[in-house]
C-alpha cells in the first residue's frame, strides 16, 4: 500500500501543479474547479473500505463545503414497543429518497461562515436532509421528526452518515484538498460529490462530480448470479455444499 500512497501523492502533486497553473486562466469563467483521485471505487473480494482524495482550486479566498451523497432509496424505520414481557417492532415510518450515504466535510465549523437558510436550501448537514415520508397524511408531525432523527442517528452509528468540520485543508486561499473515507459496508451505486464555495454566507459556486461505487470481480458475479438467476444459484449453492461435504467425508475417512 505504501507505493500506492506514494504514487497517489506524486499524481496529486502534478495535478495540483496543473490546477495551479490553470487557475489564473480559468478564473475568469469558473470560480471553483474540483476533481477526485478516482471516479470508480471497486469493491473486490479483499475490500475493507477505501479513501478517495478530493482536490481542487478556487479563484480566491472562501470556505469550502463538501457533501457526498449516496444513491437515494426507500428506508423503513421501526420502533420497538413493549408487548407483554418482550419488546417487538410496532410503529414504522417509510422514508423515500433517503441517501444511502451522506458525508459532510468543511474547511471551518459551519456556524462560523454559513447562512442557515443557505444550508437548508442545499441540504447541507444531516440536520437539513429532507426526508420525504411515504404516507405523509397519516403520520403525526412529532412522529415524523422522531423517526427522521432516529434514521440519521442509526445511519451515523453504521458509519454511513457523518459530518467532519474543518477537515478540508486549504492552501494559499486557492487550493484545497480532503480525504473522503468510505467504510467496508458502503452501499453500491452512483454517488454525487458536491463541492460548494461559500463567501459571506452565500454559495457563490458549486460543482458536482459523480463517483461510482460498484462490486467487481467474483463478488459482483456472485451477486448478479444470485439476483438474476435465483433458481440456478440455489441449485449451485447446494451442489457446492454437497461436493464440499462429500470431499470432507472422504478426506477424513481413515481417521
Amino acid at each position: 500500500m505504501v507505493w500506492r500512497a506514494a504514487v497517489a501523492r506524486a499524481a496529486l502533486g502534478a495535478l495540483l501543479l496543473l490546477a495551479l497553473l490553470a487557475a489564473p486562466a480559468r478564473a475568469q469563467t469558473q470560480p471553483l474547479v474540483a476533481d477526485l483521485s478516482k471516479h470508480l471505487v471497486a469493491i473486490t473480494t479483499g475490500f475493507s473500505g477505501t479513501d478517495v482524495l478530493l482536490f481542487g482550486a478556487t479563484d480566491g479566498p472562501g470556505d469550502i463545503v463538501l457533501v457526498v451523497r449516496g444513491p437515494p432509496g426507500r428506508e423503513v424505520v421501526r420502533r420497538k414497543d413493549r408487548a407483554g414481557i418482550i419488546w417487538v417492532n410496532a410503529d414504522s415510518v417509510d422514508f423515500e429518497d433517503v441517501p444511502a450515504f451522506y458525508w459532510l466535510a468543511t474547511s471551518r465549523p459551519l456556524d462560523e461562515f454559513a447562512n442557515p437558510a443557505v444550508l437548508e436550501r442545499h441540504q447541507i448537514g444531516t440536520g437539513n436532509l429532507r426526508l420525504p415520508v411515504a404516507d405523509f397524511a397519516e403520520i403525526p408531525p412529532q412522529t415524523r421528526t422522531d423517526f427522521a432523527r432516529a434514521l440519521v442517528r442509526l445511519k451515523t452509528a453504521e458509519g454511513l452518515y457523518g459530518e467532519e468540520q474543518g477537515v478540508v485543508r486549504q492552501l494559499a486561499n486557492r487550493l484545497f484538498r480532503a480525504e473522503l473515507h468510505f467504510p467496508s459496508n458502503v452501499p453500491v451505486g452512483t454517488y454525487m460529490v458536491e463541492v460548494y464555495l461559500i463567501r459571506e454566507g452565500e454559495v457563490v459556486s458549486a460543482e458536482i462530480t459523480p463517483l461510482i461505487i460498484s462490486k467487481v470481480g467474483v463478488g459482483a458475479d456472485i451477486y448478479d448470479f444470485a439476483h438474476n438467476q435465483p433458481a440456478l444459484y440455489g441449485i449451485a449453492a447446494i451442489i457446492v455444499a454437497v461436493a464440499a461435504g462429500w470431499l470432507a467425508g472422504v478426506a477424513f475417512r481413515k481417521s
Binding site: 435465483p230 457446492v240 467425508g249
Partner: protein, 306 residues
C-alpha cells in the same frame, strides 16, 4: 485478513469466520449435533443480517450433514424408509417455512420470530437434556434399576396409514414421522438450522426409534430439508451467501474431526450436561435480549431498490 461477502454486502475477518466454523465444528464433533442452533446466533452476533445468517446457515448444514451421513451409511445406521417419510414432511414444512419467513420479513417481525423460535426450542430441548443427562450422571453412580415401560402409546397406535420400518424395528403410522418432519422443516426455514436438536429427541422419545439409527437417519433427511431450504431461500429471498458458507464449512470440517477425537476420550453423560448447559446459556441470552429494554428502540432497513 478481510473478505467481502457479496450477498451479506459487508466485509468480515476471514480468520474470525474460520475460527467460528472451527468452534462450532468442534462442538458438533464432541456432542454429535449439527451446531446450526449456535451458528446462526453467532453469525448475527458478528453483524451478518439475520436473513442472510439463516439462509447461509442452511447451506452450510447441507455440507456438514453430507459428510456426517457418509460415516453412518458405511456402518448401516440409516433407515432409508423412515428417512424418506420424514423427508416428505420436511419438504412440505420447509416450503411453508420459507413462505412464512417472507411474510414475517415483510411485516418487519422476522428478527423477533427467529429469536422467539430460538428461545422456545433451545429452552425446551436444553431443559430436557439437562434433566435427563443429570439423572443419567447420578444413576451411573448407583446400581441401575429397570425402567418401567411407558403407557403413552395408546393414541399413537390408533392413527391410520400404518407402515413397517424394518431397520428401526417399528410398526407405526406414517403420519407420525411425517408430522415430526413437517415441524422440523418449518424450523429449518425460520431458524436456519438442520433441526437435529429437535429431530433426534423426537425420534427417540416420540417415535421410539433405536438410538443407533437415529443420528444417521436424522442427518440423511436433514441433507434434503436444508437443501430445499437453501434452494427456496435463494429463489425467494436471495439470502444465501456461498462465500460465507464455504468459509464456515472449511473451519467446521476440521473442527468436527478434532472434536470427534476429543469426544471419544470423555464420558457421555458429562458431555451431555455440558451441551445442555451451553444450550441453556444461549437460550437465556436470547431471551434476556428480548425482555430487556433495547439500547435503541429504533431500527432501520433499506427496502430493496426497485
Amino acid at each position: 485478513m478481510q473478505s467481502y461477502l457479496p450477498i451479506a454486502e459487508m466485509s468480515v475477518n476471514v480468520l474470525l469466520v474460520l475460527g467460528m466454523g472451527g468452534a462450532i465444528g468442534l462442538l458438533s464433533g464432541l456432542f454429535g449435533v449439527g451446531g446450526g442452533f449456535l451458528m446462526t446466533p453467532l453469525l448475527m452476533f458478528i453483524g451478518i443480517p439475520p436473513a442472510v445468517a439463516v439462509g447461509t446457515g442452511a447451506n452450510q448444514i447441507v455440507a456438514s450433514s453430507v459428510s456426517g451421513v457418509l460415516a453412518h451409511w458405511r456402518r448401516g445406521n440409516v433407515d432409508l424408509k423412515m428417512g424418506v417419510v420424514l423427508l416428505l414432511g420436511g419438504l412440505v414444512g420447509s416450503g411453508f417455512g420459507v413462505l412464512l419467513f417472507r411474510f414475517l420479513r415483510g411485516l418487519g417481525q422476522i428478527d423477533l420470530a427467529i429469536s422467539l423460535c430460538y428461545v422456545v426450542f433451545l429452552g425446551i430441548i436444553g431443559g430436557l437434556m439437562f434433566v435427563e443427562s443429570l439423572n443419567a450422571l447420578l444413576k451411573s453412580r448407583r446400581p441401575r434399576k429397570p425402567q418401567p415401560e411407558s403407557h403413552r402409546r395408546g393414541w399413537i397406535h390408533a392413527l391410520p396409514f400404518k407402515m413397517r420400518f424394518r431397520k428401526s424395528k417399528l410398526y407405526i403410522s406414517a403420519l407420525l414421522p411425517f408430522g415430526v418432519g413437517l415441524l422440523v422443516g418449518v424450523l429449518s426455514a425460520i431458524m436456519g438450522v438442520g433441526g437435529g436438536f429437535v429431530m433426534v429427541p423426537a425420534m427417540i422419545y416420540l417415535l421410539g426409534m433405536p438410538t443407533q439409527v437415529v443420528v444417521g437417519t436424522s442427518l440423511f433427511q436433514i441433507i434434503f430439508v436444508t437443501a430445499n431450504t437453501t434452494f427456496l431461500q435463494s429463489l425467494m429471498n436471495q439470502t444465501v451467501d456461498v462465500v460465507l458458507a464455504l468459509l464456515l464449512l472449511v473451519g467446521a470440517v476440521i473442527g468436527a474431526q478434532v472434536g470427534a477425537k476429543a469426544g471419544a476420550k470423555l464420558k457421555g453423560e458429562q458431555l451431555r450436561v455440558l451441551l445442555a448447559l451451553m444450550v441453556l446459556v444461549v437460550c437465556f441470552k436470547l431471551g434476556l435480549d428480548l425482555m430487556l429494554e433495547p439500547d435503541d428502540l429504533y431500527s432501520v432497513t433499506r427496502l430493496r431498490a426497485d
